[in-house]
Subunit: 293 residues, 2 copies
């Protein structure tokens, strides 16, 4: 069997086209564009690159973006002031605090300061709490796991009653992914670095979300034939055959796994493009909500 | 093999004696007692009974308690006013909103109104969010799952790296229990009504938390020999042999299960007495915190 390859790039492109049309409608109706305000503190080149990519994606669909760029010596008070300014700015509808923040900054306090109406990353503890609780609905859900859920839906995966295994328990992917699967009535198992027998657990899974950040960690022989596999990892590995000397691989051994899985997302071109798309989606949603629609 | 029987009554009694001594120290130091304020709305006899039991337990260890008792027709504004009054009362350190609230009341709004410093039930979405997130610590954790964790510790269960299965995903037990086990580095599976093969999943578990509210649902033959079983259920079943005509049983078939499990909690006398004890514990903790210690 060869798996259906889940093409996140194509899904993201379709969604971004829809969002662009929605932004146009929003502008016609309100006379201004939805706005995203980013906070980038520190000098991590990857963080700076992510913020650039997110701002470029905004621009492409007509969302206006601003950024508070602060150096790695910025203080708690300065980062808080940046968030407060964005909270108060009527032209900003979504706030993106690029993580990680410099080590002297209390991340928890910063995320809790973001206005719930503008928490398009879904990382405010109230939104995480509502995501966890039965019968509650967070205003926004984190972009990456939401992108995973959209890809599962895209490929027609049956989630209710399925055995879903999430490998990794980060606050930005694994943990919220587990909660979203649980809310969708999957039986959810959360594996992590202390788990004794990940292969044995994965073998039971109808749905696997791999978000552990280790190149090609999940092997084909661990998979239940027909399982739907969403690969969140993006790991840079040496590749002398490539002109750049490296390439990106996921957390799943894709080439072998696609012969066992029923469906599997690509890396790159799977979850990656969905993450930014879901941030755009949340920003447009925030703009409509704040406009009272 | 016959399991170690986990006697929650004995653990609770020991903890309550320690708490009584702590309350005495608190009073000597501050000249007033820790205080619990309860909100009871509606005419559910079980809820009224729970509040009575909790207040009696407070009294026994020297915590002062007050209760706002409102009838089933109380309005959102009235319940909110009761919570606000308790938030503002300097002699109240812990607030207990007895659930369920009457159906016209927005439970989510009420729980979110409780001062974080007084949220001794741990149900504020910020506390649930922090419980869910890695690297965050809620101020208070919900009483029943905390009681389960204490019993696991009491029996020397190794949690880190263990396979833990939580049956049930309620906001007050199953869901926070799963999060607490995950924080303690267990590999956690959450089962519920949509789960396809609960017996097969339980068979893998080193730790089982049964919180599904169905009498003797978990069978002995589902258990892995030596598993530690915490039974949260308290189900009333007919019993013509009893003078009352009924008795209480747990969610686990105790008599058969104790021949397979390594350790198992009793019903009654297991998790039940721990729940109120953990509420008392949280109230004393809240009083010290508010007093700045």
């Amino acid at each position: 069997m060869t798996a259906t390859i889940i093409n996140g790039t194509a899904v993201a492109e379709r969604m971004r086209n829809e969002l662009a049309a929605e932004v146009t409608r929003f502008k016609e109706r309100h006379g201004y564009a939805p706005g995203l305000g980013a906070v980038l503190a520190g000098d991590d080149p990857a963080s700076a690159q992510y913020v650039r990519m997110k701002r470029r994606a905004c621009e492409q669909i007509g969302i206006e973006s601003t950024a508070h760029v602060m150096d790695s010596s910025s203080t708690q008070a300065e980062v808080e002031a940046a968030v407060r300014q964005l909270n108060d700015d009527p032209k900003v509808h979504g706030i993106l605090v690029q993580l990680p923040l410099p080590k002297q900054i209390d991340e928890e306090k910063i995320l809790q300061l973001v206005s719930l109406d503008k928490d398009v990353d879904g990382f405010h503890p109230i939104n995480i709490g509502k995501l966890a609780m039965k019968g509650r609905e967070p205003t926004f859900t984190p972009a990456t796991p939401t992108g995973c859920m959209v890809l599962l839906e895209e490929v027609g995966a049956k989630i209710s009653g399925a055995n879903a295994v999430v490998i990794g328990r980060s606050n930005i992917v694994g943990l919220p992914a587990a909660m979203m699967l649980l809310k969708a009535n999957a039986t959810v198992t959360i594996c992590h670095s202390r788990t004794q027998d990940i292969p044995g657990i994965v073998k039971q899974a109808d749905i696997v979300i791999a978000a552990i950040g280790q190149p090609e960690f999940v092997k084909a022989e661990w998979l239940k034939p027909g399982a739907v596999v969403i690969d969140v990892g993006t790991n840079q590995v040496d590749d002398p055959a490539s002109s750049k000397g490296y390439r990106f691989v996921g957390d799943v051994d894709f080439e072998a796994a696609k012969e066992v899985a029923g469906a599997i997302s690509k890396v790159p071109g799977g979850v990656g493009p969905m993450t930014i798309t879901m941030l755009l989606h949340n920003t447009v949603k925030a703009a409509w909500r704040i406009a009272g629609e």
